[in-house]
Symmetry: D2
Subunit: 499 residues, 4 copies
């Protein structure tokens, strides 16, 4: 008996717990998709590798095990860079598998020949070309593991066309065991003690919950900590839902005030980048003390020196913190004190403002009003995908998220075009989760410009009968440019430069 | 008076003869599009930077002056890599302009911060970041010129967000003059003489006309040479139309035979890559002598050592060759000799075969039959865009092209997804050409899978009222994977690897 | 008052605790060196940037705070890639500062213009170009911190020539505080428990001490753990000295036997790469269980799936392990049991063999004999630098190391040419350590080929009056090629190919 | 019979006319050097790959056929980047061959594993990894040809360790024929006509002769043109000697005046980069018309729009120009006219100044005085290698060059450290040229700092008994930094930042 490269590849992926593969097949990787399906991996044929790569990337965020993006050489891989770079910036695990030119055609101008590793290496944690069949199981374990361990991110492997169908004799192929979840790391107890002290001495403490906390599945630990200490919290866009938006400790409706006045911020799995105004004045208090919880040591003190650095898995570290607070008998922030009063007042004010906007009956509808109609219909447990400019900005404030990882949007990279791919992947995920029970629905709310990036993938959603509700906000988000008359005038004129 | 960065940028582009800009705007490059329009550049707002980049790239092929692709930082640029790499591989001029993070936010995690130069440098002939307003006119001249001179290709420039609206005082900005067309280069007369000798001694000569000949606008010179010498010719896919497909010297219908038996091949602006089977047996005669005409010295003798290397612009070099043949009084290949008889017989045989396929009345229609219905309606002067797998392969043989650069397809890189962007750019181009006369029509014939890559851009075509006929071959080109039952069986089974 | 770019740069470095700068100055960075000296940083002018970069890199290993390598643009930076890549592979912190072309000369062919970031980015953890004077303090803090946090490595910053002397008005430049040592991380107590269980059940346990343990300064904790549990240990080449080579638990003299028979290996700060035969049979036991301690999650399970993964600082994690073993009352490996007997016998046998070689009186001397003469004179506390092929291989086995980080050699990358630079940096380091007491001596033992890479730097050592003893093994290590006569015969012959 | 990878590699190199290989051997490429020697290639074992790469690169400049640089994987290749990048910037052909990790160790941390292609690709015209023995002859032909054709530059190939000794059965390995010299290209006769017109109308014409003219071996054609038209000329540093420095038409001694006043400049194989002050005022006349002759179309109009672009081999194009001037009967620039008078006066003035400096008897000697002593002893036909800062700047003006390619210096990249490698390669080259006649001597004149970069290679020169005279200017060129007392004061002070 003997196995072909595509079979070894597929079996290796399966051995590493891979469940989903998104892509578009063609020479030379048709057989890879066949073998993957035969190995029990769900293959989803998309319409553009761009969306396939977005879909694969979000699987890693939702499941903590990478999705695979399978692409043809050359342009297929280049299209998929969209999801690769986006996953890298958002720190999501993903495995990209590309076909490549035959080993005997190096440098000859073969079909779709391209130095693919050079294109992916600055956005992949590991990238390699398969050079022998024997090394496939090893390399697949490595790309899966590397995408997951440490700060997650994409990894890349390519298979030369000739190896896809080449046979390895014998049936004693050895597959490494499925790589386990990443090892947990904890912070130094001394640092935890310092953090506790800092929190207890704070007059206006605030917790910021990022999508790192969501990825880390720290929801239980965070709830315990926050409730115990009566701490107000703000979620980042994709940190929404780790604790429900309608939780009494959520101060999202007083975001600007909370950021500006907080004297101690416990930052959990969030970066002080543009989304958080770099952690700097005037949006942040100049003297704020940051207690930073992050899986990545390199993230520590970026832009603002952390007062306490708690490096480790958010889940474990928050538990350390929670236990320590408990041990020391911290009573929590006074619910009737100045800080909570300030925040509550601001929340009330802003909520009324928002409600007033939502009740305006302008034609066309304003965003708040339009969202009002929609949100009444969205079930609590829906996964909401949201992208666009205004559509996303306002959606973030008015569409509530009630469960962790139930909001997917343009993310750290501000990427337009992710929505349809995300919705497809999310619907597949929830479908497989809930075979016997009620389906978690997926709502995809996009601006009309954002929708245009990958609107064709609605066909994919339909082809796979995926339960997704697409809602498009027709807000004329497509650039209109100069007014018609002004532009026509210009174009009528003699060219000022060219004869 | 003073000018902003965006105005200087737009005026610089206009000064270099740029007419078209494709893109999607957003922070920080909205003003760049405004200024471009104000300067008289046609800005076309697309739905995905992927298609915008394909559209911009084909403008360069059609007009010998680069189109501009304008994109937002980060994901916008990454999406546009599709067209950048494709243009690089096809050797088409294009200028890519991207926004980028502010100069005071280096390394801080700014909005869509990315090392964009690192992403483009292996596929751009020149790439740079604008660091001062003063250098904009210089750099724009450089990116336009570099994209055109030598073997054409894409170039890249990025503008930090803060410079877009920064003002440069004074009104004495100096713009370099519009860079002229590239200097012509000719071959050494001694090499031309050798080529003539070789052609005259050939028993079974053949001319292969590539898209380099089309780009070089060598149609007149080639026609003269071929008719004078009664030489049979084969076009490459995008070389079709340099001479009309129905020209009596065209032996495309006997392609395999012609390639296999030719003892001397005059290769004009075509590479011996996968499209031409690397120039090697069994598809080529083992002892074939190649007379290679190419603009790029580095292309010379790739894969097969050239018998004579004629380096230079195809247009000029073919004229040299034609003149030399004339001088020497070459009578041309005997129209009644063995070589032409062989070719004619094969052409007749293949034509009948093709006609027979086209007349079959199977349900669903076969490709030949479907194309038969279509081609009758396509005007002689149409620009035909054609992509897909079978749709393109068969379309290439049955859709005739009658004018140079009137066939646009997946090209050297075999890229799926280029069609809609190409059609939009081509329609814009033909519209502007023919303001007062009958419009050259554009036909876009795609397989159903190929259509899926950028189908949303039909909205763009409609928005700009572009005269394009889209024809989709519904040939179930979307990967179906394993048969339903087999796949269901697999998915029901216990996972063999994971508990 | 105002400060120039070079002064801000130098003060920023000093504020981050930088003590040493190695380099070669020239346009435009002469003033940077001046300012650094004025700020109290020790600047050492080397003879080739290659050695300067090696010297700077080893400072980071010796002190846990990066040395700086200062270079001119273009060729200066390219020469320094040697130390950059070597530091990256060895995981040592280092900061590289290069001059670069003026901001108004982008793309113009300025003096030594080069896309330097593109050259360093695959071997630097962070790289950036300074674009404004204001961002210098921020960026310097970032390059220092990033080089230290997580798995250490080099970082890169470049300053355009025009900014070196540009003035920033005002005297209120704000410098971030000195970034503290990296946050400690600990392993999950559950994993520690599993590791303890595994160690206690082992029949033939072994500890491998790598240079990661040395970098982490885990010597005290390791000594405690090993002595408590009576565990045999093997150092990797640069792990030598964490515990002294003459420690009774050291089984280096039975290395092959220990590796091959160990059933449980506690791997501390060492990678299962070529130096450790990839952790695979036949050099390792096929069923060996690895307990892996590493700062880098991505290193976990590389090549061999770890039985227990203990991710964190070696120092903290070994303490966790030691405490847990203590708590559980582990008595330690039986000193009279089979395992220790096997190891002791092998050690005795190999030691005698080595002594016998050392006593041979051949002419020329064999390596063992030569080393015998040398080692008698090397003080216990010397830092020994050792490179070459045989010179290093045998030196590793016969030159004892008695203190942590006191052996410096070709390292993970097997780099020839590091020796002289390492010796210079080590001598500077020990000199500054011991102002008032007896100097720790530095011995640099090189093969004659290895010496040739940077022999000129002896002038540097002399110029700075550094206490280094250089010992060159004249073992004809320079490639001799074919025997003279055979080669002459060939060269006399007619060229078989060229006329 | 069968051949190993190393034999196929060596025979392929020989078949392509490779004569010289510089490098340092080690695992896995020892056998490659053996095989190369056995194939009749001169292998020179250097002391550092840095110098080996410089030596190999200059062979290409001297002989128009690339030298090979052979290096071990990892650090060997990184050291050689020095010569690779330098060759790329100077446009010299060179072939770099590196060993690499075994094909079954991809990603495992093998000996000196490194993504070498990623390190070279931005400075090599082509780079590839050998994946099968069969493709070696093809790939070697490609790297040699690509390094030579078009604008020359370095190319790269790597061989996995396992292929070095792997055997290919059979004795019918097919080697492509030796790639011929690059095809000549000529300029468009119309452009030539325009150039002639422009030259004839010029009031103050000037010819600048660059190292491109030297590489192109255009000496004969240039002499003819210049003498016919009585045109004054300036050489660039390495353009010196194309026509002798003491030629009556040479106006190097009036360089500044000539550049500033010329109204038409014929620029032959030189770039308007930093060496030529970017062709801009105040160093150049604002209205100067450039007639640009260059092999590279992309070089045309860089920094200053060319009035006429003559793209092609300098040798052919200058002949076209010369013939056209002759045809038209141009009498040449009036030797008694204003232009020549101005230049002659300036030359006389500057020559006296220089002589006066040379006759000063200061202690220590000034440069002019020192050079005076030296130059009297240097034979007319010597190849002079010259590097350093002042040593090179002044050497350029006072050491005369009398033959083309007889001056080698820091070049376009301003690289320190090239001298010794260049001298070694030049001496080998002249030795092999002149087996039976008097040896062309090589003089290597370096500043003391420049000498330090590669001083160890004097051993190499000695080992190969190469006839080189090394002259070191002891001008205290090594950076001295702050005065001793000032520096000591600083170091005594309390650290202002660190406690």
């Amino acid at each position: 008996m003997s196995s072909s490269g595509s079979v070894i590849l597929a079996d290796s992926l399966r051995a590493q717990g891979i469940q989903y593969m998104f892509g578009i097949v063609g020479i030379p990787i048709v057989e890879v998709a066949y073998s993957a399906q035969a190995a029990g991996i769900k293959y989803i044929g998309m319409r553009n590798e761009q969306s396939a790569s977005y879909a694969a990337s979000i699987i890693g965020y939702l499941t903590n095990r990478p999705g695979v993006c399978l692409v043809v050489p050359g342009p297929g891989l280049i299209h998929a860079l969209a999801g690769i770079v986006n996953a890298f910036v958002n720190c999501w695990p993903m495995v990209v598998i590309a076909g490549s030119f035959d080993q005997d055609q190096v440098g000859m101008g073969g079909f779709q020949e391209w130095n693919q590793i050079s294109s992916v290496q600055s956005s992949c944690k590991f990238s390699a070309r398969i050079e022998t069949l024997e090394s496939i199981p090893y390399l697949i374990e490595k790309v899966v593991r590397t995408s997951l361990y440490g700060r997650p991110g994409p990894t890349y492997i390519e298979i030369p066309g000739n190896l896809v169908n080449e046979l390895m004799p014998g049936d004693n192929i050895s597959y490494p065991p499925c790589c386990p979840d990443p090892p947990l790391t904890l912070s130094d107890p001394l640092d935890v003690k310092n953090a506790v002290k800092c929190l207890m001495e704070a007059k206006r403490p605030l917790v910021i919950i990022g999508k790192g906390a969501a990825y880390s599945r720290a929801e239980h630990e965070l709830r315990l900590l926050l409730v115990r200490a009566n701490l107000p919290f703000l979620p980042t866009p994709m940190g929404k839902g780790v604790l429900p938006d309608d939780h009494p400790l959520c101060v999202a409706a007083a975001r600007s005030r909370a950021l500006k006045e907080a004297d101690v911020i416990l930052l959990v799995g969030a970066r002080l980048n543009w989304i958080l105004h770099f952690g700097k004045p005037p949006r942040f208090n100049e003297n704020v003390k940051i207690i930073q919880v992050d899986i990545s040591p390199e993230e520590m003190s970026n832009n603002v020196p952390a007062h306490v650095m708690l490096c480790g898995n958010a889940k474990s570290v928050i538990k350390q913190l929670s236990d320590a607070l408990c041990d020391i008998g911290f009573k929590g922030v006074d619910p009737l004190g100045n800080w909570w009063s300030t925040l509550r007042n601001k929340i009330d004010y802003n909520t009324k403002l928002s409600q007033s906007l939502a009740s305006q009956e302008s034609v066309p509808m304003n965003f708040y009003c339009a969202y009002k109609q929609i949100t009444d219909y969205i079930p609590r447990d829906a996964i909401v995908v949201n992208e666009g400019a205004n559509t996303m900005d306002i959606g973030r404030t008015v569409v509530k998220t009630h469960f962790p990882r139930h909001r997917l949007d343009a993310g750290t990279f501000g990427t337009m075009g992710v929505g349809t791919g995300f919705a497809i992947a999310a619907a597949l995920y929830t479908t497989s989760l809930n075979k016997s029970k009620k389906q978690t629905p997926v709502y995809c709310i996009q601006g009309d410009s954002a929708f245009g990036f990958s609107g064709m993938e609605i066909e994919t959603a339909y082809r796979y009968k995926l339960p997704i509700v697409f809602i498009i906000m027709n807000n004329s988000g497509i650039y209109q440019g100069l007014p018609r008359e002004q532009y026509d005038d210009i174009m009528k004129n003699e060219d000022p430069f060219i004869k």
